[in-house]
Subunit: 283 residues, 2 copies
Amino acid sequence: MLAAAFTQSPHTLLRVGDGFDLTAIDPDSTPGFEGNKVDGSRLLAAFDGQLSELQERLFAASRSGARDAVLLILQGMDTSGKGGIVRHVIGAVDPQGIRHHAFKQPAGEELMHDFLWRVARQLPGYGLIGCFDRSHYEDVLVHRVRGLSPLAEVEARYGMINGFESRLVGGGMRIVKVMLHISREEGRARLQERLDRPDKYWKYNPGDVDERRFWDEYMHAYQIALERTSTAYAPWFVVPANRKWYARLAVQRLLLDALQEINPQWPAAHFDVDLEKQRLAGS
Amino acid sequence: MLAAAFTQSPHTLLRVGDGFDLTAIDPDSTPGFEGNKVDGSRLLAAFDGQLSELQERLFAASRSGARDAVLLILQGMDTSGKGGIVRHVIGAVDPQGIRHHAFKQPAGEELMHDFLWRVARQLPGYGLIGCFDRSHYEDVLVHRVRGLSPLAEVEARYGMINGFESRLVGGGMRIVKVMLHISREEGRARLQERLDRPDKYWKYNPGDVDERRFWDEYMHAYQIALERTSTAYAPWFVVPANRKWYARLAVQRLLLDALQEINPQWPAAHFDVDLEKQRLAGS
């Protein structure tokens, strides 16, 4: 049986463009997909193999000099499902082809450099899919909301980010920037689950409740950040994420789009195949 | 239907101990497992979930201060299936819990330090499963066979390795050292496949055929390395690997053994659960 498919491309529907208004996006919605959770899970599984093969081709091509890489940047409020994307979407790909990094509060040597320094050190090399769980966007989100940096400095960072990402894209990287968008109520329900299940206690941090007081301020900071840094070369996508299955499906599709655009090819032999067959037979 | 199970533990059967003789091990054999390929694939899949859960518990426990980590070291001749282990065994685990590194010929700054320096930089932190595709053992294998270092230096390295690994184990790491053991003929057949399939050309390197001339010398170097560095705290396991499905199954089992020995527990709440429920409800 064929799995239900997207009726419209998430790439178009979810992209942050002119007139973007975060408050107009319903976190419960499933843009471009009319199926239910079962349909969604089936479709996700149906494309695992393609994602995995495209990644292997990307890697193979890089061994022959292709200079392509993909960087997935995941942002979202606590419990928005960033880790689940890594586990269920990125998890389908060979670990050898992934460069994953979760950014925490900067510490030690990281504090002795500008905010993009530690990010640059975690970039995927050619042939790899990088996956950032949080990123340099924290420096214009939490820094703006909680005043961790002077406002003038935050204001200067949007341009620095655009310049940085422009350089990366110029060097062969496809950047897929995703905001996982959940509602305040869904966030509460997910934290509640962490308090109801002893095997989830370890994910709970009392500070997360304190942070919820700033929900509206965070949404405002996202609105500004997405407006100012959704560029032609590195657009943002807002993925409604109250339904985890939809968010995974949409991010998988965005990654597939990026890889299909690269369209990596198996490299030709850089040796004489017949000669090598003879040599091998005699070895 | 229950999957066929191991009749004897690979941990016992494959372990390198007194009187070890690599030439006595049949790369076609499937020690401790009487099933066929289909049985083996089924059993592998049946334990993916357990491996994944144990890794999550390991990670969770480390957030509360547990100082445990696992390091899988994969060694073996070209085409012995190291990458396949990463893809098919490690691939079942959440990418967030894995620290993978493939060691190539040392270059740049690596050459300005002793041979263990670059290895130390790639070690998994607490809560992670590290996976080394090749390792510091190359410095006593290819270096011995091809004379890349003076013999006296190679001879000194076995003790250095034991000292290094002893320190790691003392610090909470479980080291699982695996030699994937294929026959010379199987190695030829696998290289042949890379020459027969254009989507495999990129994995073929003419130098691999040249290296096959030293097959016996490599086996001798493995014999010495395994004898001298299979210790009580970090034993070697020789996994017959002509049948890929068996090798994957055996390595999965060795990893499960290591994790079960750690027996990581979900951490208790470090906060007042009822109080937090109240605070959350009001947020």
